[in-house]
């Protein structure tokens, strides 16, 4: 029991420590794919270090929401990390405290506060980005719901630890169309939800065209660092859900020993790098969609999900 609690904390620590690394690898790979040198993979750590040592400026016009938001954004992914399998393929201490839906709500809470904070300062770009984020969010949420429903229909549960076992026992289940279609749909969702091409351009510097980035424009110093770190962790957690829960629990520790759990860390990171490679490939081969085309993108994800559900029904 104590070991399970320890592993659970370890999971949160892994998320906390390696999330900036993944963000760094992602931007490095992207630059490399476009024949640039790109910053070091450790650049996000340097950025965080720098930001933590800078003064923070907070507008007089803003309310407590603006000040609380960075902490919420920072903490939300950590809570989710307690619920999902990051390193082990057996349930840990907090595994049954919340299901995938609960995790989704916690992540959404962070997004909700970020939106409020963006409006709070009355910076002209903040509300614009916030409203766009909400638009993407409104469109993405039904897809999330259908993903979870399909998962619950197929696996008979929405507890991530139970779901992940469903895809590989027996091994033929991996090719269950519901599974494959869910993977496709969730991959599209990650693109939309983490503000990546073709939905949003994370490396853009033009405020008018921003969706996700413009929400954090007002933050400086520690607030900015927490927002950035939180964003990286959200990405990390989503990748964990995708790779460990929805794809397959390959590479996760299946024995109770501490060494096995530690050995799982590099394997999981390797899986993530591979997935990031795919993401970056997608990002580099598509142009950004016009804002009103995003509905079509997410509509397609929705259709993929419902197709998964339908096929599942036909199977019965």
């Amino acid at each position: 029991m104590i070991a399970h609690l320890l592993y659970n904390v370890l999971q949160a620590l892994v998320v906390l420590l390696f999330a900036p690394l993944m963000a760094g690898i992602s931007s490095k790979l992207k630059e490399r794919l476009q024949s640039h040198r790109g910053p070091s993979v450790f650049q996000p750590y340097y950025d965080l270090w720098k930001l933590f040592h800078k003064d923070e400026i907070v507008s007089h016009e803003s309310t407590w929401i603006f000040r609380v938001t960075p902490y919420v954004v920072f903490v939300a992914p950590l809570f989710v990390a307690l619920l999902i399998p990051v390193l082990t393929d057996y349930p840990l201490f907090f595994a049954f405290m919340g299901d995938m839906l609960g995790g989704g709500f916690i992540l959404a809470l962070g997004g909700f506060f970020a939106t409020l904070a963006a409006i709070d300062t009355a910076n002209p770009y903040g509300p614009m980005g916030a409203s766009r984020t909400r638009m993407v969010g409104f469109l993405a949420e039904p897809v999330f719901m259908i993903v979870f429903f399909t998962v619950s229909v197929v696996a008979g549960s929405t507890i991530p630890y139970i779901v992940q076992q469903r895809w590989v026992h027996p091994p033929a289940n991996f090719f269950d169309p519901a599974h494959v279609l869910l993977m496709i749909a969730f991959f599209m969702l990650i693109l939309a939800e983490t503000g990546r091409l073709p939905v949003d351009n994370p490396s853009g510097h033009f405020e008018l065209a921003m969706i996700d980035e413009s929400k954090g424009l007002e933050y400086s110093g520690r607030g900015a660092a927490l927002m950035k770190w939180g964003g990286a962790m959200k990405f990390f957690v989503l990748l964990c859900i995708f790779l460990n829960v929805l794809v397959a629990p390959w590479g996760l520790a299946s024995s109770q020993s501490f060494t096995a759990v530690l050995a799982a860390i590099p394997l999981v990171l390797l899986k993530m790098v591979l997935c990031i490679l795919a993401l970056v490939g997608v990002e580099s081969s598509f142009a950004k969609l016009r804002l009103f085309r995003i509905t079509e993108f997410l509509g397609a994800a929705f259709v993929v999900c419902v197709a998964a559900l339908l096929i599942r029904l036909m199977e019965l």
């Binding site: 091994p171 033929a172 090719f175 269950d176 169309p177 494959v180 496709i184 509905t295 259709v303 036909m314």
Partner: protein, 227 residues
């Protein structure tokens, strides 16, 4: 948690997967804006049809279905895209941003509705004659048939209409490989020939339309609306 309802053999799962992706390709034909992508999607759909035929052939140990798969690959996945590209002129094939009667999310939702309809239409048929993989292939094939018809009506561009037509045919055969696995091979060959003739004739007609009317947008064809 193993589910008792699910047949666990790999062939079954793979066939299901082929069915799912087949359906997805059909959806794609409704919603893709670029003509070239439509052609590629159709080729992919045909490959999935062939895959399903081959898988069912493996299950039933029938050389016949393998032959069907081979015919499908050659005629539909290779020859038809080639024919369409050859016959219809460059300007037609390279068209992007196809306009539609309905916007894309609405079309996709209707296509989903049609899939559900197909599921319910097929349910009593499956009950009337339960056999093997029919439960998967029949509703999906019927759905592709209906969605193909919907594609033809909703598209306003010549080549995607033709592809919708051809995907209807693919849908019928997707059901066919399960419900009529031992249809005489000669009939299969003749049907493949028929599909090729469709592609050839419609491709040529598209080219002529493009030459005469300067556009392949079917929306522009309104001369004959005098009744």
């Amino acid at each position: 948690m193993p589910d008792p309802h699910i047949s666990v053999t790999l062939v079954n799962e793979l066939n299901l997967l082929a069915a799912g992706l087949f359906l997805l390709a059909t959806f794609g034909l409704v919603a893709t804006r670029q003509v070239l992508d439509c052609v590629a999607l159709f080729a992919g759909q045909s490959v999935l049809l062939a895959a399903s035929a081959a898988l069912l052939g493996h299950e039933a140990a029938s050389d016949h279905l393998y032959a069907v798969a081979a015919i499908t690959i050659v005629a539909k996945a290779l020859l038809i895209p080639w024919l369409l590209r050859r016959t219809a002129s460059e300007a037609v094939v390279a068209r992007r941003e196809i306009s539609q009667v309905l916007n894309i999310p609405t079309s996709l939702l209707i296509a989903l509705g049609l899939t559900i309809l197909a599921y319910f239409l097929a349910a009593p048929l499956r009950a009337a004659a339960p056999s093997g993989q029919v439960g998967v292939n029949l509703p999906i094939g019927l759905a592709a048939l209906l969605i193909g018809a919907f594609t033809v009506t909703v598209r306003r561009e010549a080549l995607p209409q033709v592809l919708g037509l051809l995907s209807m045919e693919n849908g019928a055969f997707f059901a066919g490989v399960a419900i009529a696995p031992d249809l005489p091979l000669f009939a299969e060959l003749a049907a493949a020939f028929d599909v090729l003739v469709i592609a050839l004739v419609m491709g040529l007609l598209t080219r002529k339309l493009h030459e005469r009317a300067g556009s392949t947008s079917v929306a522009d064809l309104t001369d004959l609306r005098e009744e």
